[in-house]
């Protein structure tokens, strides 16, 4: 069939099952947007800043909607996507970004709104393309989606010159992709799995340290069965949150810098650690050569480059987490470790998670949201203290329930990602746990939420500070609060949200918390923000200082 490049793109998206595009138009995207004018079966959501489009596509993908799609025009539109693409790259999230580009004959001439976006995104995409022949369009789009979602997922960018959008081609969608240099290993090596089973059988103090790979491969059931069978203590990273039910007796919560004391002690004392879909990030390990130094590691990951990057495991297994865990499950012996459990229970008693002092505490607010949502809501976070409090105090039940910018730590991620998640899961309740600083980084998306009747709920934990930075200044820089007090100038969030057409509330006392949350939960057709004025000097605890060891952990 004959069609234009723009039509071909949309036909390809259709074939890939795309239902939603988050985008923002511009000159170099006019032919594609003209085409979208008549498209009824793919929903286009107009954001108010391209960064919002990238994060929304990311949130859509993380919440389980499949590959997220965002679009932007050339030049500034494309560069505005960059932070969102980098965020998705660091957390291995499958998105496809389509950018407009000046016509092929104008490339390389510093034309109006020309930018080398494939060059710029080279180190932050899994792969990217510049279309230079219109007949390449179907094959390129097919490849892009395949690459984004297979193996270790990640963002792919397609730069689409304007003349390519207008060129006429004979449309034919390829059945398969041929990428000789790309063949992700999905099944683990049987020998290695055998040896891993033996090592687990020999363990006396086994622990599982799970990461984002558990969620992206949907391996929750396998992990649960394995952990129960071998009676291992389980700790899940920020990215792995939800990959193991947090109310389970084996679950120790999060490890690392702001993890629970008992998770960190368990890793420190374990003799065998099964590291699953995780990358030994410095926020988890602290000082690397002191990390879990009594343990032998089994490391399962789909990305061979992760194995041995930070820690050299006794047993490397390259493969898809779900498949490897299933294989492993069939080979390990059922074990009980009462001594080990007892030790852990003592740590739990000695170093419980808690908060102290008076005033409206952020931990209390998160607990109240947990109670009101019965632990079922999709929780998205911004970055900073709010993020850590959300992770610590909202135990999750399932994968794709907790969405947070882990690797890049992008302030401004939460709200647009929450919009994306709500679009992917219209029947779920979505909360963005936010800070007063972060929320201002993409507050313009309030317009997107209002216009599209997206009932995202935002809990601003308002401390009048760039709180996490303030905490470091207090603890490590003699409390010299250099440029972290943002009270002056921060807008009245209630009025601001109302100006957009959303619902705003302010809460300053514990007794008002539950009613405000109830009110927010009742709203189904518009966004809502609750401005919680919290005790401003609250710190996130426990804390292992950057590059530190468990012995340096500050408990409270």
């Amino acid at each position: 069939m004959k069609m234009t490049g723009a039509q071909a793109l949309i036909e390809c998206l259709r074939r890939e099952g795309v239902q939603v595009i988050f985008g923002y138009p511009g000159g170099a995207m006019l032919p594609i947007y003209d085409e979208l004018y008549d498209v009824a079966d793919i929903r286009h959501i107009l954001v108010r800043h391209e960064q919002g489009a990238a994060h929304a596509a990311d949130g859509y993908a993380r919440a389980g909607g499949g590959v997220g799609v965002c679009m932007a025009t050339s030049g500034p539109g494309a560069t505005n996507l960059v932070t969102g693409i980098a965020t998705a790259y660091m957390d291995s999230v499958p998105i496809v970004a389509v950018t407009g580009q000046v016509p092929t004959f104008a490339i390389g001439k510093d034309s109006f709104q020309e930018v080398d976006i494939t060059g710029i995104t080279l180190p932050i995409t899994k792969h990217n393309y510049l279309i230079t022949k219109a007949e390449d369009i179907p094959g390129t789009v097919k490849e892009a989606f395949y690459i984004a979602r297979s193996g270790r997922p990640g963002p792919v960018l397609i730069d689409f010159p304007r003349d390519m959008q207008q060129a006429e081609i004979e449309f034919e969608y390829p059945e398969s992709v041929e990428l000789p240099g790309y063949r992700p290993t999905t099944t683990g090596h049987p020998k290695m799995i055998e040896r891993a089973a033996e090592l687990l059988d020999s363990a006396r103090r086994p622990a599982i340290y799970g990461g984002g790979g558990v969620n992206s491969s949907d391996a929750q059931a396998e992990l649960l069965a394995l952990a129960e069978r071998i009676d291992a203590a389980v700790t899940m990273t920020l990215m792995g949150k939800g990959g193991f039910p947090e109310d389970h007796e084996l679950c120790l919560g999060m490890p690392g810098m702001h993890g629970t004391a008992y998770a960190n002690y368990a890793l420190h004392e374990a003799d065998v650690i099964l590291a699953v879909g995780t990358r030994f990030d410095d926020r988890v390990t602290g000082k690397l050569d002191m990390f879990a130094r009594n343990a032998k590691f089994i490391h399962i990951d789909i990305d061979p480059a992760e194995i041995g990057k930070n820690v050299v495991p006794a047993l490397p297994i390259v493969g898809d987490v779900k498949s490897v865990l299933a294989e492993l499950l069939g080979r390990v012996a059922r074990k009980r470790h009462p001594e080990w459990r007892k030790t852990i229970d003592e740590w739990k008693k000695q170093y419980p998670m808690r908060w102290k002092g008076d005033g409206l505490k952020p931990q209390f607010i998160v607990r109240e949201i947990h109670r009101a949502t019965k632990g079922d809501a999709i929780i998205v976070t911004e970055v900073g203290q709010n993020q850590m409090w959300a992770a610590q105090w909202y135990p999750c039940k399932r994968s794709h329930q907790f969405l947070s910018s882990g690797g890049l730590g992008t302030m401004g991620y939460g709200f647009p990602a929450a919009i994306g998640a709500q679009v992917a899961c219209p029947n779920q309740v979505v909360w963005d746990i936010a800070g007063d600083g972060s929320i201002q980084m993409n507050i313009q998306e309030m317009a997107t939420a209002v216009a599209n009747k997206i009932p995202v709920k935002i809990a601003v934990l308002n401390n009048g500070y760039l709180g996490m930075v303030r905490q470091w200044q207090t603890m490590f820089f003699k409390n010299r609060l250099s440029h972290t007090d943002i009270n002056v100038g921060t807008p009245d969030f209630v009025k601001l949200v109302e100006a957009y057409g959303g619902v705003g509330m302010r809460v300053a006392n514990e007794s008002e918390v539950a009613p405000a949350i109830e009110k927010a939960m009742a709203l189904k057709d518009r966004p809502c923000l609750i401005d919680f004025i919290i005790a401003r000097d609250e710190n996130v605890m426990p804390m292992v200082p950057a590059g530190g060891t468990v012995d340096e952990m500050l408990v409270d």
Partner: protein, 161 residues
């Protein structure tokens, strides 16, 4: 430790930039780099000489494999290889020194490819050691200008990448 690695890649725009930037990111300085097409016009071959610890190189090799356009990465460390470089050396050649230089050139089975009244331009091919040795000897006359290609390498015997 010096490593010579061969990377087979799809012959597409941007591949060189992707590959080179990986080395830069991990703090590896590329000593030399040679790229050309192969018997298959869709595939290019790069020979890269780098210095760095083995563990880091293994990481780079894994990262290279993550690039869609990289088909194969070979570290020639423990392998018999033929390696060649080519150099063009413009050296001072005053009347009194000409005979001596010509003798040196012939010992090295190099060629004088251009002559002026005060200089020779010498072409030499061979292993890096051989090229180094010739340069060492020519230094005494004063090298005016010089250019070396990157190293290129193939495995010995019937083996192919």
């Amino acid at each position: 430790m010096k490593h010579t690695i061969s990377v087979l890649v799809n012959n597409r725009p941007g591949v060189l930039a992707r590959t080179a930037s990986l080395f830069a990111r991990r703090g590896f300085n590329i000593d030399s780099l040679a790229v050309s097409t192969t018997q298959d016009p869709d595939i290019s071959r790069m020979t890269i000489v780098v210095e760095g610890p083995d563990a880091v190189l293994e990481q780079i090799s894994k990262q290279l494999y993550k690039l869609m356009d990289v088909i194969k990465v070979l570290d020639h460390q423990d392998e018999a290889v033929i390696n060649r470089e080519l150099a063009l050396i413009k050296v001072n050649a005053e009347a009194g020194a000409r005979g001596e230089i010509m003798q040196t050139v012939s010992i090295f089975r190099a060629n004088i490819v251009d002559v002026s009244d005060r200089s020779f331009t010498i072409e030499v091919t061979g292993s890096a050691d051989k090229v180094d040795a010739l340069i060492g000897l020519l230094n005494q006359y004063g090298i005016r200008e010089m250019m070396r290609t990157g190293r290129i390498v193939l495995s010995r015997g019937g083996r192919t990448a």
